[in-house]
């Protein structure tokens, strides 16, 4: 299978602090990869590098066989954490979705964009939310709209930042079903940040376990074995919980 993402010796340094150190892995086309690690492990920094938000990094990052600067944003879908969004911004859901098409805020949504935006909303079961103000959407509803925003441009790679945070269990299950259905239909590659290794075990093809350094990368069973989890999470005082969580997972 074609390689979508190839990272070699990636390090990101803020002043005298390494947010990421010597990370390297490859992702093949059509894979669902979860990036797992404790708070402060560098998961978001890694995603920010891929989104062109961290200009100063060391190492090599190739997307679709090209350096980041040459990658068209049209190939990339991004679902940010909905909690980081400014929900006071006066906007309707359909306007937010069309930013995925035009990569700019619409003065007025034209009929062509409207049609595509409705189709994307329909795919995530949210066409009834099109004219709603984003301020009035629940977390799960906004997450669906953000997902529609990312798939409307038919990207080859979708990056998701903690997509299940703040969503109830049913909403979380719905979201994974939608993601997997979209992936089956489009063949897109998925890269998802999560702190929930249970979700990673059940939904991802591969897991990257991070704690500033790369702890492991491979199938969920191999990457999330007890020793690796202890290395990633143990030092921050979670030992007493690790065993039971790990036993539950396996």
């Amino acid at each position: 299978m074609a390689i979508v993402l190839e990272i070699t010796n990636l390090s990101v340094r803020f002043a005298d602090f390494f947010a990421l150190q010597e990370v390297g892995f490859t992702v093949e086309s059509g894979e669902f990869v979860a990036i797992v690690g404790p708070n402060g492990a560098g998961k978001s920094t890694l995603l920010r590098v891929l989104l062109n938000l961290v200009p100063n990094y060391q190492g090599q990052v190739n997307l679709f066989g090209r350096p980041l600067a040459q990658v068209s944003p049209d190939w990339l879908g991004y679902v940010p954490q909905f909690k980081t969004m400014d929900r006071r911004f006066p906007a309707q859901a359909i306007e937010l979705v069309t930013t995925g098409l035009s990569r700019i805020w619409p003065w007025k949504v034209d009929s062509g964009s409207q049609q595509k935006a409705y189709a994307a909303l329909q795919q995530v079961g949210a066409e009834h939310l099109a004219k709603r103000a984003i301020a009035t959407l629940s977390g799960g509803e906004l997450q669906r709209v953000c997902l529609a925003r990312s798939i409307v441009r038919e990207p080859r790679l979708i990056m998701l930042d903690e997509p299940a945070t703040g969503i109830d269990t049913v909403g979380e299950s719905d979201m994974y079903n939608l993601l997997e259905a979209y992936q089956a239909k489009s063949g897109a590659t998925l890269l998802m940040i999560t702190h929930d290794w249970h979700a990673a075990t059940h939904h991802a093809d591969k897991v990257l376990l991070l704690n500033r350094r790369q702890i492991s990368y491979g199938s969920p069973q191999d990457a999330l074995n007890e020793q690796n989890l202890r290395t990633a999470f143990g030092h921050i005082g979670h030992e007493h919980r690790l065993k039971s969580r790990y036993d539950n997972n396996v």
Partner: protein, 256 residues
Amino acid sequence: MQRALIGGILISLLASYYGVFVVQRGLSFMGSGLAHAAFGGVALGLLVSIEPLWIAIPFTILVAIGITWVKERTDLSGDTAIGIFFSVSMALGIIFLFLHQNYSDDAFTYLFGSILAISWLDIFMAFLLLLVSATTIPLWRNWAYSSFDRELAISDRLPVKRDDYLLAVLIAVTIVVAIKLVGIVLIAAFLIIPAATARQLASTFRMMTLFALAIGIAGTVAGLLISFYLDIPSGAAIILIQAVLFFSAMLLNHNR
């Protein structure tokens, strides 16, 4: 009065337009900071007997660029960066005014605004700025996107840094041009209130922009007429009318 009305409408269009970005980005303090920076420039102009506008415009632009630069290069919040430039410019302005003999009349005009002080030069400057702003209308979509989410806009490869600097410069010039009408003390409100009022009524950013323009013009014209007939400072009259519109919109929004 005719000059004041023409100037007032032009200036309120500019202030209301840029005000929507100021309000939505949570930069309300920036209006105040730049107005006080303009005070430093105006005072220097008065001291050296040069038209204050010629000094205040570059002075305020430099401060706007400085604020944006400090915000970008440090971990300091926008408010802190603005606060530093605000105080330095104010301190310079006080010293310049102190060194200038018989400054009280001029200073009063610039501090509180006066319709009698609006000259054809001010109107020409406002018109010129309106023309420049008209050429940046396509950038509304960039500024709106980065106002909603700066990182999304950067990840979609918009030139957000360039756009931010340009917006800061245009806001700075708008503030300087509006000083004689509204006064340094009240200019921040002139920038913010129409946009904040529009925000209460609009469901989209486009509607917010259009409402802000209409509310800005209505408040300015009504305020100028009241200022003229009651012989009170124009800035205070405009801001009070705008405040009435704001609270009315708030009540309307609450009752919907």
